[in-house]
């Protein structure tokens, strides 16, 4: 399965992936409308320290601890992709307790959100990857 992988040495720490992610999942047509005057809640997060930076999002684990730990059955594995049914989520944080990468986070309403590789929004291909100016994240089979 194709996943998003990180080339740490190429990351500029520009956070564009986060902006593209927030826009892609906002349901808005224009990026300006989606992001203007808003605190963004992206499903990809850039870690930075001492000149090193890299973006972290869901690894789509083959043995997903989040799925096995979700008390609501809101997280499932569908053809390798780990998806969340936000309608079922009760915001208990069990998935956050379980995910080794820190790849889930609550949205404004306290419902969990995670990267679904842009398969569940209107974009179909990871927008963070196409928005990265330096190929520090790539979408490929490994």
């Amino acid at each position: 399965m194709k996943r998003v992988y990180v080339n740490e040495q190429w990351c500029l720490g520009c956070h564009l992936c986060e902006y593209y992610c927030a826009y892609a999942n906002s349901g808005q047509e224009s990026m300006v409308k989606a992001l203007k005057d808003k605190t963004i809640r992206a499903r990809i997060k850039v870690e930075e320290k001492d000149g090193i930076s890299f973006a972290v999002n869901c690894r789509h684990c083959t043995e997903p601890l989040c799925v096995k730990s979700c008390i609501a059955g809101a997280l499932t594995q569908k053809d390798g992709l780990i998806v969340i049914d936000q309608d079922k989520c009760v915001g208990c944080f069990s998935c956050i307790m379980a995910c080794p990468y820190g790849a889930l986070m609550p949205n404004e309403e306290g419902v969990m959100q995670k990267c679904e590789l842009c398969t569940t929004n209107s974009h179909m291909l990871p927008v963070c990857v196409s928005g990265c100016p330096n190929k520090a994240i790539v979408f490929e089979e490994r």
């Binding site: 399965m1 996943r3 992988y5 990180v6 080339n7 740490e8 870690e47 930075e48 320290k49 090193i52 890299f54 972290v56 690894r59 789509h60 684990c61 083959t62 601890l65 989040c66 096995k68 730990s69 008390i71 609501a72 059955g73 499932t76 309608d87 079922k88 009760v90 915001g91 208990c92 944080f93 069990s94 998935c95 956050i96 307790m97 379980a98 995910c99 080794p100 990468y101 820190g102 986070m105 306290g110 490994r142």
Partner: protein, 410 residues
């Protein structure tokens, strides 16, 4: 191959999903005494709180049993195992033959003797969907609710019904709430939160006798009530295995392949005692992730794919009225403490590895990074422990480890 599973809940689903990864042909029969397809048991309090619905609580989608070719026998109880002829006897008089059997029977509420309890008309336990539905029917705006037990189940019940009743009093013999998962400071913090939200606690006390509408406590205090909820504790359902001569202690004993001592009989979930990965002691770890993963490993082994589950450990994520708590492992060894505006973080280190943590309030984000340190017994010397203690970041790992985490398929 005939796979038979007793109990139709989380461990059972884990088992079905893993059997089907290995064996698409064998028959799977599930016997469950509740009349529902598997639902998310921990959500019964969220149901009363209107944060979910019975439809949304189903644990897997509608097509689950059909697409996994599972025969469901609901509303029936398995009564005995005949280990010689490999048959189960059910309460309707029928028998079911098995080649591989999983016992995933969970637990039942423990009710200590209390004088005159039988005279209490509106008395409930809080373990399953029917309990929640029955309790819901009894709730009224003017109800005074008395909950016995300040553990996870009693307090989640309280949260679930708070807005629907007049008052809630929680009585517990222990001197603090949630003692099994929290340290003293944590108990105090959560107790304060719950008190601010309108609950009344009477700790270090117990019911001596029930009267019509009043409970007399050992201390002499009297608590008026209309509805009683018993959430003192649970006992594992071990009788099937016990009566068939399988090894049991407090719960059914299983090995790392989730086998009981009876050939071809496996067990998983809340009815089991397994080895705690952190302490190496035998323990009942009655939590959902454990039930799922044990069921999964049992299923693999039942289908002939040798697999071990050696990472059972305590971990809990629990929240009340927006105050979240995440804990894992054990609270022993050297510790690091960070206090914040809404809570704190305590990390416990033994022999150079993280063995436990308590996170309350705004310290809970990305907690799984800490959990992974416990689960992998990561040598803390290989990472920037000061940094990761401050904040759970992948940045704290060595460059090579980061490249593996973010560059390899996981």
């Amino acid at each position: 191959m005939k796979y038979v599973i007793v109990g139709n809940s989380i461990a059972s689903v884990g088992c079905i999903e893993s059997i089907r990864k290995v064996d698409k042909e064998g028959s799977i029969c599930v016997i469950g005494d509740e009349k529902y397809p598997c639902y998310a048991r921990p959500l019964i309090s969220y149901l009363l709180q209107s944060k979910t619905t019975v439809e949304k609580m189903v644990y897997r989608d509608k097509a689950f049993y059909e697409s996994n070719a599972v025969t469901l026998l609901l509303g029936k109880r398995a009564k005995t195992i005949d280990r010689e002829t490999k048959h189960l006897a059910l309460d309707d008089g029928s028998t079911v033959a098995y080649d591989k059997l999983l016992i995933a029977t969970g637990s039942y509420p423990f009710i200590p003797p209390m004088k005159n309890l039988e005279s209490v008309k509106k008395c409930f336990t809080f373990m399953n969907l029917d309990d929640a539905k029955n309790l819901e029917k009894a709730l009224a705006k003017e109800s005074r609710v008395l909950i016995i037990g300040a553990g996870l189940i009693g307090l989640k019940c309280a949260e679930g019904i708070r807005d629907r009743v007049k008052s809630i009093t929680v009585v517990d013999l222990a001197s603090r709430i949630l003692p099994s998962i929290l340290d003293e400071a944590g108990s105090a913090l959560v107790e304060k939160k719950l008190t601010d939200e309108g609950l009344t606690f009477i700790l270090h006390d117990s019911v001596r006798e029930f009267f019509n509408g009043d409970a007399l406590l050992s201390s002499g205090a009297v608590v008026g009530y209309d509805i009683l909820v018993l959430a003192v504790g649970v006992r594992p359902n071990i009788s099937l295995v016990n009566e068939a001569g399988g090894e049991v202690n407090r719960a059914i004993l299983i090995d790392e392949k989730c086998q009981t001592s009876i050939p071809d009989v496996y067990a998983a979930g809340d009815c089991c005692e397994s080895i705690d990965y952190v302490t190496k002691e035998r323990k009942v770890l009655a939590i959902l992730p454990n039930a799922y993963m044990q069921g999964e490993v049992a299923g693999r082994n039942m289908a002939g794919d040798e697999t071990f589950f050696d990472k059972a450990m305590a971990m809990n994520a629990i929240g009340f009225f927006g105050l979240h708590v995440i804990t894992a492992g054990i609270y022993e060894g050297q510790e690091k403490l960070f206090t914040t505006e809404t809570g704190y973080k305590r990390l416990f280190v033994q022999d150079g590895t993280l063995v436990g943590y308590i996170l309350i309030g705004d310290t809970i984000n990305r907690a799984g990074i800490y959990t992974s340190l416990i689960r992998n017994k990561t040598d803390l010397g290989t990472l920037d422990f000061d940094l990761i203690s401050e904040e759970p970041l992948l940045m704290a790992f060595a460059k090579k480890e980061r490249a593996h985490k973010l560059g390899d398929a996981q």
